[in-house]
């Protein structure tokens, strides 16, 4: 057997391939993206970037109903988007195995919330496995396909960003051959009309009961005997929190849970009887703790371990220290960073096609309802101009509600990217047309799903699988929905951006503006189209160009009227020319034309 250093997400993909997965569908979302990216590289696996997580779930579900093993993967917010089929498919069950990977983001490295996805197990009934490292990612996914078919239910594999984005050693296995099962025709199984769904709910409860019996006796429910001073301390934990707890408190006795729904409560009770003091270490909500308390046990948990953010080894260690355990390693809180150093938040790249419109919207002082994409970085300094950016597809309907509330004096609009518009913006725009709500929508079309690292979407000419396909016509779609004012604009032309915004806002009905420059990074890095420089004599340090927040513009030592003059970093300038357009004294010129 080979031994490889694998990302948790890579190990999920490998485990799924070994288990004979044939269809994988997802919408990209940190920290789950690499699962389907990797599956696309395996022979014999059909993998796609679907238009959204609900669609992806249904494609995978349909494949499983069709008799093959299928997988879908999503971030926490994606699980909310897919919640409808997630819950319904647990009632119906499957034919071929269906594995649903949900990667959460405690600490919100990139997520909008840090929702605790374990509750999806309880709300749907879907069994849930939680791996702690890459080996378990690999092994649990293989097992999840078996459990799915044995118990006729989709199985969730829940990851935390810590598990998804760490690399550890994996002993991989061989691929098993899995033939397609006969899907038959089962009206009473897959048609959720009341007369069919009532018995299916009863059947689901029976399936959960059998799965609880499985969890009680499973090797995934594992007691790890302790040694030394902490051997009588019992810790119940799972996933990333288990790794942190093992690092923080070596020598304790652990009950390591691999099945987190349904919980093996009898095993937990037996474990509790063997220790003097019982802790539960879990990220986010007291999900385990409340069920353990409800089972009549005494347990310590959230009073020591915060429900906020990622539970790092240090934070778990500090919790045990606060609980009175003698742990010199965690006796003092240590600084990880020198907070006095200038912060370096992510910024829009040099030449980013979002920058021109962001600057124009700020200039016009518009209320901007954003969506989910790189343009949200304009809510941070130095641009700092965005009113809302909440969830996928929110911008257009929120702008409608905002308009119904009276709008704003200087104007407001919705801003959304190409991928997000196709994910869940279309229905919002259709609503505006139908309701005759006067909104302006800016589609920042950079022709890729950029923020997650450059995945294809329906505006592209190729699919993830590499097949040629017909790119969608965004302007045509908007017109077909009934939008009468649709304007395409070059976002590198600042005056044109201002004019397009003014025209859109002035139009008496739903109006759409679409920008037409590609992402600087994906699908390939855009090279420089000429380079700009600053004539220091002419620069009057007016700072207009610095409002762009371009990483290639820097202050120099030279000062005019107490303000620093500016230089262009020629090694990174891409020649988008926005700074030159904003430069009133004409100091910024194309290199060689000074």
């Amino acid at each position: 057997m080979d031994t490889l250093l694998m990302l948790g997400n890579e190990a999920v993909a490998r485990g799924a391939w070994e288990a004979g997965v044939q269809v994988a569908a997802a919408y990209p979302g940190t920290p789950s993206t690499e699962i389907v990216t990797n599956l696309a590289n395996y022979d014999g696996v059909y993998a796609e970037w679907s238009t959204n997580e609900k669609v992806a779930y249904e494609v995978a579900f349909g494949a499983a109903v069709g008799g093959v093993r299928a997988l879908t993967a999503m971030k926490s917010a994606g699980a909310s988007v897919a919640a409808d089929p997630l819950i319904s498919s647990t009632y119906t069950g499957i034919c071929g195995g269906l594995v649903v990977v949900v990667a959460g983001d405690p600490g919100m490295s990139s997520g909008m919330t840090e929702q605790d996805d374990r509750y999806f197990g309880r709300i749907s009934g879907m069994p849930m496995l939680e791996p702690a490292d890459s080996q378990e990612c690999h092994d649990f996914v293989r097992l999840a396909f078996e459990l799915s078919e044995t118990h006729d239910v989709p199985v969730m594999v829940r990851l935390s960003i810590q598990t998804a984005h760490q690399k550890s050693i994996v002993r991989v296995g061989e691929q098993v051959a899995v033939a397609r099962k006969d899907p038959g025709r089962h009206t009473d199984k897959y048609c959720l009309l009341p007369r069919f769904s009532r018995p299916l709910h009863a059947s689901l409860l029976e399936r959960i009961a059998r799965l609880r019996e499985y969890a009680e006796a499973s090797p995934l429910t594992r007691v790890e005997p302790g040694t030394g001073a902490f051997a009588r301390i019992g810790v119940i934990s799972s996933g990333a929190a288990y790794i942190s707890a093992r690092e923080a408190l070596p020598g304790a006795t652990f009950l390591k849970l691999g099945v987190v729904h349904p919980l093996p409560l009898e095993a937990i009770k037996r474990f509790a009887a063997t220790v003097e003091r019982l802790f539960v270490v879990e990220e986010l909500e007291p999900y385990l703790e409340e069920q353990i308390l409800a089972a009549g046990l005494t347990v310590e948990g959230k009073q020591w371990f915060s429900p906020l953010g990622e539970l790092t080894p240090e934070r778990v260690g500090r919790g045990f220290f606060a609980a009175g355990l003698h742990l010199p390693r965690w006796a003092e809180q240590k600084a990880a960073e020198d907070d006095s150093v200038i912060p370096r938040p992510p910024v829009l790249c040099t030449g980013c096609p979002h920058r021109g419109m962001a600057t124009a919207m700020k200039k016009l002082d518009l209320d901007v309802h954003g969506d989910i994409g790189c343009y949200d970085l304009t809510s941070l300094p130095p641009v700092s101009h965005m009113h809302s950016a909440v969830e996928m597809g929110a911008s257009i309907p929120m702008e409608q509600g905002f308009a119904r509330a009276g709008g704003s004096k200087k104007g407001s609009l919705a801003v959304i990217g190409d991928s997000t518009f196709l994910h869940s913006g279309l229905t919002g725009l259709l609503n505006a047309v139908h309701q005759r709500t006067n909104v302006t929508v800016l589609i920042q079309d950079n022709s890729i799903t950029a923020m997650t690292g450059g995945q294809t979407n329906p505006v592209n000419e190729k699919t993830l699988a590499g097949a040629e396909t017909r790119p969608v016509d965004l302007a045509g779609i908007c017109k077909a929905l009934g939008v009468e004012h649709v304007e395409i604009v070059d976002p590198y032309d600042y005056e044109a951006c201002l004019d397009a915004l003014k025209a859109g806002l002035a139009f008496g009905g739903p109006a759409v503006i679409i920008t037409n420059r590609p992402c600087m990074l994906f699908p390939r890095k855009v090279g420089a189209d000429g380079v700009y420089g600053v004539d220091e004599e002419l620069c009057n340090a007016c700072q207009q160009c610095m409002k762009l927040g371009c990483p290639s513009l820097h202050h120099t030592e030279a000062v005019f009227k107490n303000r620093h003059k500016v230089e262009v970093d020629a090694s990174t300038c891409t020649g988008c020319s926005l700074c030159a357009q904003l430069c009133k004294p004409g100091a910024i010129v194309k290199a060689g034309e000074a």
Partner: protein
């Protein structure tokens, strides 16, 4: 995979890691500088050496957008967590001077900080609210840790291209860890395009020269 033996037949890594020593290595920089590739080279070197446990925690968040990034690598006979706890970094490899200063408190007293002299001023400096620490390396070198400044750009330019500056820094780190040069070179070959291998190996050798000083 077999452990690389030195010419005398002993395995310096086996001796070094016996007794439960874990080396905690943090690579930091600005998104787009190649931090992830450098971290992969370090981790693969330990993996290729054989007989060791290696864990790596990848940069989180929007790393490609010019933000502050870090990768953690932990090497030993038994490693539990993939992330390094504050104040426990044995080797800090900073691709950018102010990023080195930012993470300096995380280095264990007496630890090693290898810092590229390159300075990348973030756009936020234009706000006037913050100023960029042009004296970052001098501030790091306050006696709490051993600071090794490396002009990665100059050395990379000398071997042919600024893009290999990251591997110069890996070279400077390499002499501090108990792995043979050949193992490092194999790991580099795994992580860079074949057409760039020769220049990367030259960059590694140039960095190795600095580390030995």
């Amino acid at each position: 995979m077999s452990a690389q033996k030195s010419e005398t037949g002993t395995d310096p890594a086996a001796e070094h890691y016996a007794g439960g020593v874990v080396d905690d290595i943090m690579v930091v920089g600005v998104g787009g500088q190649g931090v992830i590739v450098a971290a992969a080279i370090v981790a693969d070197t330990a993996l290729l050496h054989g007989g060791l446990e290696v864990k790596l925690s990848e940069t989180r968040g929007m790393s490609q957008r010019g933000g502050s990034v870090s990768s953690h690598i932990r090497i030993g006979t038994q490693v539990i967590a993939p992330s390094i706890s504050p104040g426990e970094v044995d080797y800090l490899l900073a691709f950018e001077a102010s990023e080195g200063l930012r993470r300096a408190p995380s280095v264990v007293p007496g630890g090693v900080a290898i810092v590229n002299t390159q300075q990348i001023v973030p756009p936020l400096a234009s706000s006037g609210e913050y100023s960029y620490p042009f004296d970052a390396i001098a501030r790091m070198d306050d006696g709490s840790r051993r600071v090794i400044a490396v002009d990665g750009d100059a050395l990379a330019a000398k071997v042919g291209d600024l893009k290999v500056a990251g591997v110069v820094l890996v070279g400077a780190l390499s002499t501090h860890l108990p792995f043979a040069a050949g193992t490092w070179e194999q790991a580099i070959a795994r992580n860079v395009p074949a057409s760039w291998l020769e220049m990367n190996l030259a960059a590694f050798a140039a960095g190795r020269g600095v580390g030995e000083v």
